[in-house]
């Protein structure tokens, strides 16, 4: 059965990274859920039933936070903690400092000067999870791609 991923992206601006990862994951046989953009609207504060069901059904939760975090993204990451899901959050240095307090040991900081360190952290995290080799290889590739997408994302 295909490994199921849930991408909890920080704000609507991060959704493009999530959609690119979803497209790439799909051709590699992974099933990826990306919550709709309206859930990142400031007025949205609670996890939607559909997102909650997808989160419960997922094997791995991947957080992508580059420019801040919406309330619903925070809810998703908290729910992942509560459900004891395998979760990893890739974040820029500014967001990572406070995310570490909420999600200790699960935050990979992207340092533009040293992206290899972040990649190593992703590999280490995935090695600790009990998933088969082929899926792990794909996830490492996706993690590396996420790093690339975040590092080369156009700056507003």
């Amino acid at each position: 059965m295909a490994l199921k991923l849930y991408i909890a992206y920080g704000t609507a601006a991060d959704q493009v990274i999530a959609l690119r990862l979803q497209a790439l994951a799909a051709v590699n046989g992974l099933s990826v859920y990306v919550p709709p953009a309206y859930t990142r609207h400031p007025a949205a504060t609670a996890l939607e039933p559909q997102s909650e069901a997808k989160l419960i059904d997922s094997d791995i939760i991947l957080g992508v936070v580059t420019t801040g975090i919406s309330e619903v993204c925070r809810e998703e990451l908290n729910a992942a903690q509560g459900l004891k899901k395998k979760a990893i959050v890739i974040a820029d240095p500014a967001s990572a400092s406070w995310l570490q307090d909420y999600f200790p040991g699960k935050v990979v900081v992207i340092d533009p000067a040293n992206p290899a360190a972040a990649e190593q952290q992703i590999v280490q995290f995935l090695k600790q999870t009990e998933i088969e080799q082929a899926a792990m290889t794909t996830l490492i590739a996706l993690g590396t791609l996420a790093l690339g997408l975040m590092l080369f994302a156009p700056q507003e």
């Binding site: 609507a12 601006a13 959704q15 493009v16 959609l19 690119r20 979803q22 497209a23 790439l24 051709v27 990306v34 709709p36 953009a37 309206y38 990142r40 080369f152 156009p154």
Partner: protein, 187 residues
């Protein structure tokens, strides 16, 4: 690396949505803009109206673009109407035709924003060329997604067959040329 913005016409939105390929356009465009006239054209039918509203809520990179030089669009439509006199009886229909307005607005909006035009219709493509804009259609998008390994050649063929079965218009010759380049049988 920044990707261009794309201004898309209604026929391409319908085709790419029918194939569930709009999210994959994030690999080609940072933003995909829906001009006002294109939205109005799609809003005329309940099914596409609901779908466009859902897409705008679901995807942050798909956005409305509303402000534009309306005079420039009107001039293009008047020019189109005058040329339409070559075929008596069609001129008024052309003026009223929302599709034409959508194509004209897509070109004017793309010119103002330095964006690429995503259009299949002949008149829209000619306008884009005249405005020296980068323009492509559904077939080019399928080819680019195939080059990026997001679609297999056999999937491209399946998609084209599906469009034909759904009665969605696309340039058949260009489609078969693409299938030939991909080593697939024509449709």
């Amino acid at each position: 690396m920044a990707k261009p913005a794309g201004v898309i016409d209604s026929s391409c939105v319908i085709a790419l949505d029918a194939l569930n390929l709009l999210p994959q356009l994030t690999y080609l465009f940072d933003r995909l803009l829906l001009p006002k006239a294109v939205r109005e054209d799609l809003y005329r039918r309940r099914r596409t109206k609901d779908r466009i509203k859902a897409l705008l809520r679901e995807y942050a990179f798909i956005d409305m673009c509303t402000g534009y030089d309306q005079t420039a669009v009107d001039l293009l439509l008047i020019e189109r109407r005058l040329k339409g006199r070559e075929w008596p009886g069609k001129a008024e229909a052309v003026l009223q035709n929302k599709k034409d307005r959508g194509e004209a607005e897509a070109v004017v909006q793309a010119t103002e924003r330095g964006a690429m035009v995503v259009v299949d219709e002949d008149w829209g493509r000619k306008l884009a060329e005249r405005h020296r804009l980068d323009y492509h259609g559904t077939i080019w998008i399928l080819e680019r997604l195939c080059e990026l390994r997001l679609l297999a050649p056999a999937t491209v063929r399946r998609h084209l067959v599906k469009l034909r079965e759904l009665g969605i218009r696309f340039p058949l010759q260009a489609a078969n040329d693409l299938l030939g380049r991909l080593g697939e049988q024509g449709i």
